[in-house]
Symmetry: C2
Subunit: 423 residues, 2 copies
């Protein structure tokens, strides 16, 4: 049995997880120095929720992957230390400030853990901490300090959705996914939430994906499952080619499902990995779709590659090309830009065999065969590209490996959002 079913919810869909997200007014405090909490009821919140907490009612096995950017956010350093023993029980994450390139960054990140641990009556080193937002501005700790009681007293199963809201920055919608599957006949759940939507070109992980599961699995397999899954999901998306300083994907497994514990590779582990991939790939697609200013999701499917590495390089190169991304915004089937982007990867293959098709919900059009153009109806192509999910199918006819990458179009709004992000 390895059937995987999508269900409602996110990080609180698995048994034994509670969450919450409230508005502590971090940005307001950065501007004015004033601490201005919002109503704790979760109703009529005047400003955006900006601090999230996830809590497991029992201890968890935990794993994470982090950005490869040499400039790393302070929370990354603290979280790495806290996860050294493969255990955690809670997450605290804020938006509005990345707490990166600040002299007092680590101290503030640790304070966030300490404050939460005290309220939850757990140890500070059981807390994962994350921050996202502007780089290089001091994180005001006072609003978080003032809001921590409200955050913890409001923890609930329905609070998963508030947590997903609280980590949003320029995201236009919150990103939650959950699946159910069976291990040894016992139903298990994996849930997750993530945020985009700029500085997205992950290298090992992406800016904030939090996954929870009630499956029972040991720490080393959990880490391996996450690391492998990240390579097929978050590492295969790009919004703007900028690898963030604060990227992190983490997973908490509390075992509350009471499945036979997964302690070795085999059928159960494979089922768990499939379910985890399903969650991560769906979250990754949502992040690409909600890329800053994006109007379209681009999915580039490469097949016939001599090896997986080549397939990945080609797929990512296409979804990263500014020229191609702008053409998709303009609904222009300018396939020459696809060939160009394939050509400037450093992967080795025979470009003269390359076949390219464009597809969407309305159909498929072949635009290139054996590395040269084929005649097609521009009008038909325009109609196809008017849809909001575009698939670029590339067959290199040079082997059997394949890979898929996701990206988005390049639009006026990307420029607008990033021309005045700080102000």
């Amino acid at each position: 049995m390895d059937s995987i079913t999508i269900i409602e919810g996110g990080v609180t869909a698995p048994k034994g997880f509670l969450a919450n997200g409230v508005s502590c007014g971090i940005k307001h405090c950065m501007k004015t120095g004033e601490v201005l909490l919002s109503d704790s009821s979760g109703e009529g919140v005047p400003t955006k929720r900006d601090v999230a907490v996830i809590f497991s009612m029992q201890p968890c096995t935990a794993a994470a992957v982090y950005t490869q950017n040499k400039v790393k956010g302070a929370p990354i350093a603290v979280t790495k230390r806290h996860l050294a023993d493969g255990k955690a029980r809670a997450v605290i994450a804020n938006s509005g400030n990345a707490n990166t390139c600040n002299a007092d960054g680590e101290q503030k990140a640790l304070q966030m853990c300490t404050m939460l641990a005290r309220e939850l009556n757990i140890s500070a080193d059981e807390v994962i901490v994350a921050s996202t937002g502007v780089i290089g501005q001091t994180l005001p700790i006072e609003p978080i300090q003032a809001g921590i009681d409200m955050l913890v007293s409001g923890l609930s199963q329905s609070g998963g959705t508030y947590a997903a809201e609280a980590i949003m920055t320029t995201d236009t919608f919150k990103k939650e996914v959950a699946v159910t599957f069976e291990i040894g006949g016992v139903p298990c759940v994996i849930g997750g939430m993530s945020k985009g939507s700029g500085m997205i070109h992950p290298n090992m992980a992406t800016l904030l994906a939090f996954i929870t599961t009630d499956a029972n699995i040991n720490a080393s397999l959990l880490q391996q499952a996450l690391s492998d899954s990240v390579k097929l999901s978050y590492n295969m998306i790009s919004v703007d080619g900028d690898t963030s300083t604060n990227d992190m994907a983490c997973i908490l497994a509390n075992g509350a499902a009471n499945n036979p514990k997964i302690t070795e590779k085999g059928e159960d582990y494979n089922t768990f990995c499939k379910a985890l991939n399903e969650v991560n790939i769906r979250l990754a697609r949502l992040m690409a779709k909600d890329g800053e200013g994006a109007t379209k999701l681009l999915e580039c499917r490469v097949s016939g590659a001599p090896n997986e590495d080549t397939a990945k390089k080609v797929a990512k190169s296409v979804v990263c090309s500014s020229l191609f991304k702008a053409a998709m915004f303009g609904q222009d089937a300018n396939w020459g830009r696809i060939l160009c982007a394939i050509g400037y990867t450093d992967a080795q293959f025979n470009i003269d065999k390359t076949e390219v098709s464009l597809a969407s919900s309305v159909g498929t059009i072949k635009v290139c065969e054996s590395g040269a153009g084929v005649a097609f109806s521009e009008e038909e192509a325009k109609g196809l590209l008017a849809e909001d999910e575009i698939i670029i199918e590339i067959n290199l006819h040079d082997g059997k490996a394949s890979a898929t990458a996701w990206g988005c179009d390049l639009t006026y709004d990307y420029v607008k959002i990033n021309g005045d992000y700080r102000t």
Copy 2:
């Protein structure tokens, strides 16, 4: 004596070179199938000039560097064969169609050489051919055939400027540079023209730079001087991170200056290289400044690097960052994005020592020291960034090597231009 003086003109500034550029109506023919030449007087030309010719009255030593994109334009293949003997006498280049990813591409490129050679009474393998424009559409040869007589009969010293116009695509101004210098007391000239302005992220060369000189220099030294110079000029600019399929920089040296021939490395060779760098770097800066949709030239100067390779990687990473480029368009001193772009290079150095300043004609502001922010006036920064040439000074304090890269801001107009380039 190695003083270098900027003079008026471009490819016809050196002795013995003639050029011309006329409107053959290539784009018009692609749309309608109709051949519609423009008035040969060069006055009142109704459509954009689209075919350029450069001719040396005496045989030349020649050298070139080409794109590293695996998808290569057909003209590149033909030019490589023609330059195998290190000799050439003429150039023919068209805009409006890249003659790339076409089944009959090489045949058409060779036809262009043959037609020109017949009119000039030279051999076809003395002709360098280049094309720029849309990829994957058949190049109509008829308009060029019809225009070749007009092109050749109008060759003149003043025609260099027409040639520079004829290779423009989305460029907003033509790019010409010339310098004079002395070799063994004899005045020599190097002149050049180039075109941008999208798909600019050169790897070995950039889309169409043509350099001429009347200096007398042997073929192997000419090739080495060009290869070295390209690394410091065209390979250090980026408009959009897309490496073109048709990039080419070539140089013709006809020896008409009658300087003592440069046959070995030494003072004369060094002087020649300095003059060549001057021309290429100025042309490269013009291409960055005229990047598609650009309102600002970005110059990133990296110093204190452990080695030149690291300095180059850091400098290019900053001018390539979409996020930073959008911030510059918005005149927002969002230096966190500079640190982020430095951090995601694969170069090895100590990020905690990094110092960053922003500068323009109105002043300099330090924004980051020892990898963390320093207080500065946002208002002052805004004023500084309102200028149209912005310098980003990065000192890694980790060695003695340095490098400079050039780019441009990311604007609404980049998206607009590339959202409907073909239509």
